[in-house]
Subunit: 347 residues, 2 copies
Amino acid sequence: MKEFNANDHSHRRLNILTGEWVQVSPHRSKRPWQGQIEKLSVDRRPAYDEKCYLCPTNERIGGEKNLDYKEVYAFTNDFAALQSDIPSGGEENGLLQSKSERGVCKVICFSPRHDLTIPEMETHQVKLVVDLWVDQCHEIGALDYINHIQIFENKGAVMGCSNPHPHGQIWAQESVPVEPAKKQTQQLAYHKETGGDLLLDYLAQEQEKPERVIFENDHMIVLVPFWAVWPYEAMIIPKRKMARITEMNEEERFALAEAYRFLTIKYDNLFETSFPYSAGIHQAPYDGNPHEEWQWHMTFYPPLLRSATVKKFMVGYEMLGNPQRDITPEFAANQIKAQSDIHYLMK
Amino acid sequence: MKEFNANDHSHRRLNILTGEWVQVSPHRSKRPWQGQIEKLSVDRRPAYDEKCYLCPTNERIGGEKNLDYKEVYAFTNDFAALQSDIPSGGEENGLLQSKSERGVCKVICFSPRHDLTIPEMETHQVKLVVDLWVDQCHEIGALDYINHIQIFENKGAVMGCSNPHPHGQIWAQESVPVEPAKKQTQQLAYHKETGGDLLLDYLAQEQEKPERVIFENDHMIVLVPFWAVWPYEAMIIPKRKMARITEMNEEERFALAEAYRFLTIKYDNLFETSFPYSAGIHQAPYDGNPHEEWQWHMTFYPPLLRSATVKKFMVGYEMLGNPQRDITPEFAANQIKAQSDIHYLMK
Ligand SMILES: O=P(O)(O)O[C@H]1O[C@H](CO)[C@@H](O)[C@H](O)[C@H]1O
Ligand SMILES: O=P(O)(O)O[C@H]1O[C@H](CO)[C@@H](O)[C@H](O)[C@H]1O
């Protein structure tokens, strides 16, 4: 028999951050697709939409009016999933276990302009988004019942985004959710065992043979992780040890804005479409402890697989068994790198 | 402050099978939906479609011809994600860890009729599907490199199903995938600690106050688990201790067919549509050990939330933080129970 070849043979890869395995089936990208085709959103939007509940001065569903904001804007979600003012309680009844959960949900408008997205904004404008995230983490992190802050962005209707106005969200809460809790466990175990930092040691390894690295500036690296699940999944990782985004200085914030914009321009160019994804930041809990084991990072989960209209479905086997991908992370990194740095709509 | 009320207040619930928590935001179902609307598939399909690669006698993409099958039919997937004939190998390079993974992927046709679905079939026909699953588990489980068998069904285009011909799949492999591995850990821990069976003890508790139980016959119970993630998630659990589906006798197989059909009829009636879902069976590893801790069960993950065209998006917070649901499992169970037992198209 020939030798094992990761570009042809089914295999598993270890996600060192969660301790879980990913199934890779590189040969499967050859299969023809006869399933669901997504709608192409060729929406040339106006700069201001009077019906949009995120545009400046407009009235929201709850009756409140948005400020006439000129840059970025944060407000409390009118349909917050996590409530701050609930009594504590729950069930402790044998195998039925529940517990009240307090929290805060905010909406973060990235720009007053209804028609823009991150890759279409200037880097100094994207930096204002980063600044707002940091400010919000300071403010929300100071609440005594909050222990975890999840910053995220759902982009595109296919990712459940119900409004195309450029925005993200913050859901902060008492408990550390399942995903960051896994990363905490893994980083802590590694730190205890080796004294090193899991993600920084990983970065060092990636830089030795940078086949998955897409971009770097003085402070940030953008790469497709070795264990990527989504076809064009990517991460932004700071080069310096930092448990939380609140530790970034001015230059680092700018570097993050640059990396965020750079990656999303490449994404848009890949299939010449406004590339949908869910993205978010994982960082140390806001629980008063230093959490030396943690390195914050930003993660992008984009669903598109073959074109602007054919996505990867994480269903059946993936829900019941194991995340599974059809192209290799190395192939994905190459495809992203090969794109122009100039947004296709600006050429 | 008032008392905590699980119907109004955000809370978390423990999934005893995975050890992970689910976020419940019951009050959030009130928010209006302005996001993506799914296409309604009002397809009256023909009983035979000459272009379908699952219909009897048709040629498949690989060039092979399907048998002129009259009941159920299994064949090896032409684009198998897991390959059986690959060399072993992988990377063990510091933080980059990969391993070849051998396996078998099969397609299971539920009926020669292109126009049927499980809820539109007779119970004795559904039993033939169950029989085929069992036969396949005997056959595949006997292969010495196989340790886990994942039976599943993706139903509906929205669930990535690329062909409406009624069918499911089997992906069997060397390793135990992430999801069943979690269930193994939890069931084993409980068994060691209490000597009891996690799921059977849970069933006993559910039967005391059956607010989440939808259906039962002599051998099976159908319920919405206390920790359900998907809006109308449900489980079929056998009443007798059984680690694997191969242990079912004739009567139990019929009872499973009845439960499967009953639940999917209720599902279709809920929004008067062919209700999409991913479903599958979790059972003990096929590794030669008895696995006394295991109780097999069948799980249904349906995405629809509010209507035939509005689904729940598991994105942003759910991908990065924690699974989150908008209606309570008790509400969902009530809605399902309230439906007629007769399929809406047969009235
Ligand atoms: O094998 P199919 O039906 O073509 O493909 C479907 O099910 C598979 C197993 O859940 C998934 O990996 C695919 O993303 C999905 O489209
Ligand atoms: O809050 P939104 O944008 O209306 O809703 C979107 O993001 C939420 C957080 O990821 C999800 O729970 C919803 O399913 C999704 O549609």
